[in-house]
């Protein structure tokens, strides 16, 4: 029982971690709390589904195409709405407020666009993976193992980008000190656009995996967005390892609390945890205090 719950928690945590990564990257580099992020997840799932339906490609071939699509969409969103605001006084309350208002507006528009294009009936993405594995008491579908695998591959890819490429180094420089990065001649606009692209691609992957395990529908973005908030606060806003550890931890806590305390109130526990962490250690477990 316990081992099974831990395994389920790990699967859920993998998706949570993946969805939180894109969110935390944007905050780290651009100080943007992106409320439209959940909708990118949702659109990602719909893109993957639509590509699979139109072209007959299998999941693994359709996912990268959809990831590119969402990355482009994410960059377009940034260029049209957020760049003019970030150019101004991005540290002032006024600027911060405006950025949040704009992403909230995008949330409404993207969700309604999905309702109009695809309708509200829930659908499912067929990953084409069947069968189960049994290890001791733990039963695991192969599909869920694939989910963990995809998450591991994407996390490794992200680390490679962040630590082995020039643009990754530039990105970390901006996250640490924007004025400094500007002073040594980095093109911050281009790098932040790149972050939005990476973030969109991660959102697309997380959304597609969620759509394969549960359902694809226009309102599916709300829950992962709220989870991403909890995770990044838990792990530290802007911290990449924090998002991974936080995601796995929240997945485990939610499963264990749901199984042993109260299923109906499991989400209440995670939000309580968020408030607790914020009050005791506002920078999060992995964040640097600013």
């Amino acid at each position: 029982m316990l081992a099974q719950q831990l395994a389920n928690g790990l699967v859920l945590g993998s998706i949570y971690a993946l969805s939180a990564l894109g969110f935390t990257l944007i905050f780290g580099a651009a100080r943007v709390v992106n409320f439209a992020y959940g909708e990118l997840l949702m659109l990602g799932a719909f893109f993957t589904l639509t590509i699979m339906m139109w072209s007959g490609l299998p999941f693994y071939a359709a996912l990268p195409v959809a990831m590119v699509g969402i990355a482009v969409l994410s960059v377009i969103m940034f260029l049209l709405t957020l760049r003019p605001l970030l150019r101004g006084a991005y540290t002032s309350l006024q600027g911060e407020l405006q950025v949040i208002l704009v992403t909230l507006g995008l949330l409404y528009i993207l969700r309604e666009a999905a309702v109009i294009i695809w309708g509200t009936a829930p659908r499912q993405i067929d990953m084409g993976v069947t069968g189960i594995q049994i290890v001791g008491d733990v039963v695991m579908t192969n599909q869920r193992l694939v989910v963990i695998g995809v998450m591991a591959v994407l996390v490794l890819a992200l680390y490679w980008i962040l630590y082995r490429t020039n643009i990754g180094k530039a990105l970390r420089a901006i996250a640490q000190n924007r004025e400094g990065a500007l002073a040594i001649g980095l093109n911050t606009d281009r790098i932040i656009a790149f972050v939005f692209a990476v973030s969109g691609a991660m959102a697309c992957a997380a959304g597609s995996l969620l759509g394969a395990l549960y359902a694809v529908e226009p309102h599916m973005g709300g829950a992962p967005l709220l989870k991403a908030f909890v995770i990044v606060i838990f792990g530290g806003l802007g911290s990449v390892p924090g998002a991974i550890v936080g995601g796995l931890a929240i997945g485990l806590i939610e499963n264990l609390a749901g199984a042993y305390i109260s299923f109906a109130f499991k989400d209440v526990f995670t939000f309580m945890l968020l408030i607790g962490v914020l009050l005791l250690r506002p920078a999060g477990l992995f964040g640097r205090s600013r």
Partner: protein, 325 residues
């Protein structure tokens, strides 16, 4: 000049239900209730300077407390209402004391968590709140002082009086010592603290007053809709209030009212098909934020500046609109 406009507006609002049909009266009442809610958000957004995504939770707590007291314990509306308002203010004070020292995104996210906890408790505490199905058949307030609120028209006047009292009280508040302290804290917290303003206390008081006004709106919401369900109090209820404030004009008291008219009454009246409303709200929010940060009120100031480009007049329009660049 302003007084005359106000008297004319009041006369129109008082005459409206006699001139218009039942449906229009219903629509106006809905607009009035949303105006009260927008006003509460306007206070927090414009005078405390915080985006509060937990405002809908205050509305929910007040609406549910009042209706549960009436339906389960047979308490009179006029007795249940003060209890519900007291509950909201106490909860707001506790939440504010814990959360208002957090800044920027942290405050926003913690209030979002508070709103979600409230909604989840309402949705899952089946025995008391009837869970996701909600409370049904909430009656209009009992008669008091010989006034009955059975008809749509009488309820309209109740909402109108509540809004007018709120507006007057908040108008006096923002010109009072407390109001000036709030503005000082909003403008520069560090400086405010330096000159001896109790920053934390001002912010908590601001949040509590906002919660009180939101609670008043919540009290009316139950009897007006005759049904309360947790799905009415999601994050989007708070966002709707924010949109109204921003579209009307942040940092003013008239702005939220204009926003409520613009976003509740106008779309319904023009019978925009309901599924385009959220997209329209989103687009409006983005356009106003990017191109007219002062909202409709700010635009009025800009237009007035064009028509009467005298330096003395332009002081009036010194709102957020000037910082558009």
């Amino acid at each position: 000049m302003r007084i005359v406009a106000l008297i004319i507006l009041a006369a129109i609002m008082i005459a409206a239900p006699s001139l218009l049909g039942d449906y229009q009266t219903y629509l106006l009442t809905l607009t009035l209730i949303w105006a009260i809610l927008a006003l509460s958000m306007g206070l927090v957004l414009g005078f405390v300077g915080q985006i509060n995504l937990g405002q809908a939770a205050f509305v929910a707590i007040s609406a549910y407390t009042c209706s549960i007291l009436r339906q389960r314990y047979g308490v009179d509306f006029w007795l249940a209402a003060p209890v519900a308002l007291a509950a909201v203010v106490i909860i707001a004070a506790l939440v504010g004391l814990l959360t208002l020292r957090l800044k920027g995104p942290f405050f926003i996210l913690v209030m979002l968590a508070f709103a979600e906890i409230t909604r989840l408790v309402i949705a899952n505490w089946q025995d008391v709140t009837n869970g996701p199905l909600g409370l049904k058949g909430i009656m209009p307030p009992e008669p008091i002082l010989g006034l009955s609120f059975e008809t749509k028209r009488s309820f309209y006047f109740l909402a109108l009086v509540v809004l007018a009292v709120c507006l007057l009280a908040l108008w006096r508040l923002v010109r009072s010592r407390t109001g000036r302290m709030l503005i000082a804290v909003r403008e520069d917290e560090l400086l405010a603290e330096f000159v001896g303003i109790p920053v934390m206390r001002s912010k908590v008081i601001g949040l509590c007053i906002g919660a009180f006004v939101a609670g008043l709106g919540g009290l009316l919401l139950g009897p007006f809709l005759s049904i309360l369900a947790p799905s009415q109090f999601t994050l989007f209820a708070s966002v709707d209030m924010i949109v109204m404030v921003v579209v009307g004009g942040v940092g003013t008291l008239v702005g939220p009212l204009i926003g409520a008219v613009f976003l509740v009454y106008v779309p319904e009246y023009l019978s925009f098909t309901s599924h385009f409303r959220p997209a329209m709200m989103g687009a409006l929010l983005i356009i106003v934020t990017l191109f007219a940060p002062g909202g409709l009120i700010g635009l009025v100031g800009v237009v007035r500046g064009w028509l009467m480009p005298t330096p003395s007049k332009s002081l009036d329009a010194k709102g957020e609109g000037d910082h558009a660049g």
